[in-house]
Structures are given as C-alpha cells and as structure tokens.
Amino acid sequence: MNVEAIRAVLRRFKKDQIPVLLERWTFADAFRNIDISGSKQRAVQVLAAACLEHGMEEEDLSEADVIYRQLHVNSRRWTALRILKKHSSSCDEAQLSIPEVLEDKLSSCLVQFYNNSICAVRLRDSMWLRVAILEGVPSVYYLIYHPHSSLLLTSNIKRAHQKFIFHSFLQVVAGHKLKELSLKGKSAQSLADLVLRRRSQGNFSAFRFNQKDCNPLVRRKRRKQPVRVSHPHIVREDEEKAKRRSTYVKKTFGDNKQPILEKVEFQVEARFVSNKHTGYHGPFPCHVRFEGSSVLDGIRALVEDRAAEPPLPAHLAELHTSSRSYFLIEEKRQTQDEA
C-alpha cells in the first residue's frame, strides 16, 4: 500500500477525531493504545507507520474513509428514497445487518455491470455503504440503509451509474422499485427521523424522549414561589394573547429540538385575490424558499416572535410530519356539489 495514500486519508481527520477513529476502526484493534500525543502531523505519521507495519489493505482504508464520512455527515447532501416491495417478495433482513454479508451480496450483483469495491460499516441502527466504481472515471458513492425499514439515503450519484447501482441494491433487498421522496438535506439522522418516526414529531416527541411519564418514586420538586411585581400598576396588555400563542407553539411544535432541514421549498399555485391595494385577480404562480441551519426551529421562532400569526396553515404547522421538503400548494378545487 502507498504510504502517501494512507496519510492522505488520515490527514482529513481533525486531531480530536483520531481517538474516535481508533475506537471504531476494526483494523486498529492491534494498535489501539498507540501514542498519538503531540501535533496532528506527528500523530498521522505514527499511525501511517503502524498501518504499514500491520499489513494494511484497500478494504481497511475504505473503512477509515467511511468512518470519516460518518463523522462529517453534513458534508454531503442526502436524498431520501423509499424501497417499494411486492407482497410476495422477502429477504433475510437479519442477514443484511451483518456488514460482510451485505458487502458480498451487493458486490456480486453490481459486478455484472462495473468493477467495484464495496465497504459496509454499521453505525447504531443503520448500515453505511461505500460503493466505489473502478471503471472509467473512478467514482465513490455513499448509501445509508436502515434494515427492517423501507428507507434508503444516498449521496449524489451520477445518472450513468444510478440505474445500475439501484438495480443491484433492489436485488439484494428483494425490492421492486425505489421511489424518490421529495426530501433532501444534509443531516442524515434528521432525514431518518422525519421518515421513520413521522408520528412522533412535534409535541409527540415528548413521549419518544420519555418526558411525559415520570417516575412516581422520584421526589417532586417544590413549587416555585410566584414572582411579586414591585409596582402593582405594571400590567401586561396582551397577556391572554401571549398565553394562547405559547400554548399553540407548545401544542404544534413541542418543546424539543426539531429535525434539521436546511431548505424547504413551496411551489405556490394559489390565485391572487384582489384587495384594497390592487384589483388584480388571477393566477399568481410563485416559488417560496425557506433557508437556514434549521428551518423547522426557525418557523417555531417566527410564531414566538409574532411575525407569523397562529393558527398556521397545515403546510407549515404539519411540516415535521410530512416527510418532505418540497411542496406544491394549490387552491382547493370546488366539488360539483359545492359549486
């Protein structure tokens, strides 16, 4: 193995991530207690020497690359896909949770089309797959598969390779078709939460995090004494309105952190209704994009900040249960009876 290639992969890790790499890397079992104190450059040189000494191979370096991708998951944009299966098809999901089995199965299906190298690493309840196409222009793609579920997350895959990689994957999981959900983002964990835990978002997340049922044996905290206002004439004008607003926010969004979505887009096809400012009445197609580090938390803050007026429309209030980040808003079509 080329020592420069090993150093190039190890150099990408930050200094405080190197102990995490040594903990998760199966190849590093032999030299887990190696001394990596000092500067990062020294730590990389020591590790590279240890890797060469223990006969490192390409598969081990691929595993280090997957661990790097797990620690920098926000560096890729992930697309969510649903695996559609026919009722008659079935596969041994338990076997697919073993990295070596999944690697062999996928590699044997994909080798019909391309020379490839597959590396699978398990992280909690998901399987991270590194698919390297060795023919033509060498390309590397990452797939995150959740066994016993119908969710697959992929990084950007070239069109030329996409068809064959998806076909091979469907053969492994005995699937019929891969349907693209209108859900994209950088946080893979948030995308998985939005799809797999749809019904426990918003206020219901309190049940998921065990915040509702408290232990009766735990001593109850003493009640807080009410704050006495020094001046009796200082009265908040809109106290009831503020209370209703905070109740609405708690009921709709809950108190916990929302799943992270960086971009939510709405294609609005609603008609423009004439008002006192203009007599225009007709189609007004427009596109609205909400952007930020966490759009769902931002929408909750908009209501708290009084920029948004409750009750919010369903496409904003139920955003966390929709499992999508791209919406089409149309006017409600009148049925014949209503017309």
């Binding site: 992270i260 709405f266 609005v268 609603a270 423009f272 209704v273 008002n275 400012h277 203009t278 007599g279 225009y280 007709g282 189609p283 007004f284 197609p285 427009c286 596109h287 609205v288 994009r289 909400f290 952007e291 930020g292 580090s293 966490s294 759009v295 769902l296 938390d297 931002g298 929408i299 909750r300 803050a301 908009l302 708290e304 900040d305 009084r306 920029a307 948004a308 007026e309 409750p310 009750p311 919010l312 429309p313 904003l316 808003i329």
Partner: protein
Amino acid sequence: MADTSTPRPSRKAKRLDMTPRTTPVWAKKPKILTPLSAGPTLRRLSATPRGFSLSRVYAESRTRPSASLAASEHETTVEKERERVPPSREQLRQCQVLTQGKWCLHSVSPLYNLQAMVDRVRSYSRSLTAHIKVGIERWNGVATAREAEETGAEDGGRQTVMRASISLLKELKSFVNDHPAISLAVYGRTSTGKEIVLCQCILCGCGATGEDEIGKFVMLPLLLCNGTSVATSHLVDWLQMTFDCRVSRLEIPSRHLFYLIANWTRYASDKGKGVDFCFSPSRHVVDKGLRQIVLSVRQDTAKALLASIHSNMRSELTDDEAERFRMAVSAHFYRVFRIRVEALNLTGVTSPIARVSSDGNLTILSGDHAVEILEFLTGIIWKLGDRR
C-alpha cells in the same frame, strides 16, 4: 431755495426698481461667514459627517438639482426641459464595464473644485498613484508580518501597486447637462509579474444635474467600487482629501428596495428570469435557524400585477404606487403562509436587469439598462439625503 431734506436720486439709477441709496457707496457690507462662502481654512468644516447636507448647497442655487422622484410641478417642468442623452454604441461599450462583477455602492457629497480638463486629470492620476503606493506599502509591512506569523510563508498577501489611472466616461450619463462619469482604476502586479486590476471605482451622476451659486461643486453622488478592500479604502481616502467630500456606504431601506424592483420590473421582457425578494427575519429567529425567506415570482406575473397598479409601463412609478405594490405582495404572502412581511427585513431584490442588496451591493445583469439603473440609484441617494 433747493430742498435738501430729500436725498438726490443717483445718476446711475436708470432701472425703475432701483431705490435711492440710504448708505454711502464706500461703506462695505458686513461679510457673513457661512460654510458656503468660507475661505480655504474653513472649507473642511463643510465636509463633516453630519454637518453637510445636500440642501445647504442648493439653498441659493437658481435651479434645484433634478431628481427622478420629484413630484412637484416645477421639478417636472425642469425635467422636461432637460435633454436626454440618446443611446449610442459608445455608451453601450462604456456600460459593459458595469456588468463585470459586483459593485459596492457609496454616496458622495458634492466634490469641490473637480476639473475635467486633460492636464488636470493627469495630475490627479499622479497624485492618486503616489497616495496609494504609500498607503499600500504601509499595509504590506503590517500584513506581511502577520501572514508570515500565521502561515510561516515569507511573502503572504503582498500587493504591489504599479499605477493608478483616471479617465472620463463621457457617454455614461442620462441627460446632456450631467457631468460625465469618472473611472478610477488602480493596477498592481502579482508575485508572478502579471498585471491585475486591484481596484476600480466609477463616480457617476446620472440624473444629478444641478448648479450651485459658487460654481465649483460637481455633482457625482454615486460611487461604485470593485476590488480589494485595502486599495478601495485608500482610493476613497484620496477622494475625500483631494475634493473635500464625504464618501459613505449606501444602505437602502426596504421601502426604497421595493420602489427599485417595481420600476426595474418594467424594463425586462416577459420571458426570462423572474423577480426575487429576499427577506431576512429578526436576529432572534436567525439565531434559531431560519436565515432567509426567498419569494420568486415570474417576470410575466410580476408585470401583470404591476399593470393593475400602474397602467403606463413607460413612465416611472410614484411612491404611492410602489407602496401599493408592496402591500399587494405582502397581502398575498400572508394569505398563503400567515407570515407578516412587515415583520421581516427585505435584504435584497433581484430583477432580470440587476440585483441589489440593502447593504449596498449591486450586480448589473444587463448593460442595455445600466444608465436607467444608475439613475434610479441616484434618485434614492437624493431621497435619503433630503431626510437628514
């Protein structure tokens, strides 16, 4: 006997409205010192940050400077009297410079004693070259030491200035009586010896025709800057020092951004890119995770809405019509999302011909309409200046 009680009328009193002198001819009128008539030592006081307002320059002027946003009859008459510069190939060629890159907008107070003759322009170039060379050498000394400390490289971020050149862009103006625009460029050399443009600035006054009684002030209220921040700051310092003016960054409020986008929408064709409004919520919401909300409307849709408010697409919108356009867009947004646009800050607008942000960054996308874009921005400067 002659009557000596009434004074004898002067022989020179031929005009009917001339009243007999009550004070002797030899008595000098007391000189009232004002910043306008002050001598060289007091001239600098006129350029203090808050002490100088455009209205003071024109307090005694014969004609008020033209402004695109003027609504009074007198100003409309003045506008009609001014002759527009017809579009020409040379104007289009000079406007193509404006479509390269992003420009930072600054507002400039009237420049004192700026002369556009060839020999004076050459002396300004020499003075600017000397000033910038000294400034950048001083900065290089500090920057090189800092960069060397951080990266360990010997030559980090060093800029070498070759020369500065000043030229006139005679066709870059809206009306015949406008002062021609002035282009200032600073050229430098990279470490490999290649010549690069370190900084380019254009002083223009499209629609800023005006006269002052002294006749020594030149109206070029809009400054566009493009280049490295060090070279730009030294160039601005030289301008302020040489022409006793004040250069400040132009910040455009939301209301005026709506005015700009409503007017610029008229120029583009129906097909093509649409109109974008970029809203930013309050600091509290940005900290929570929502950075911006972008509303994109197709060009033909925006024009149809505009036509319902302002029927004649060839003429400019008034302030009221721009306000109605803003309220119409806000009402539709509230109907779909129940979010109040008034509670958000409009930080940038994009039209098919230009893109401008509230902190004064401009990108001109169409050279054909560059003069109209600059004219509207000059009008915004007049409006913001009148408020002070």
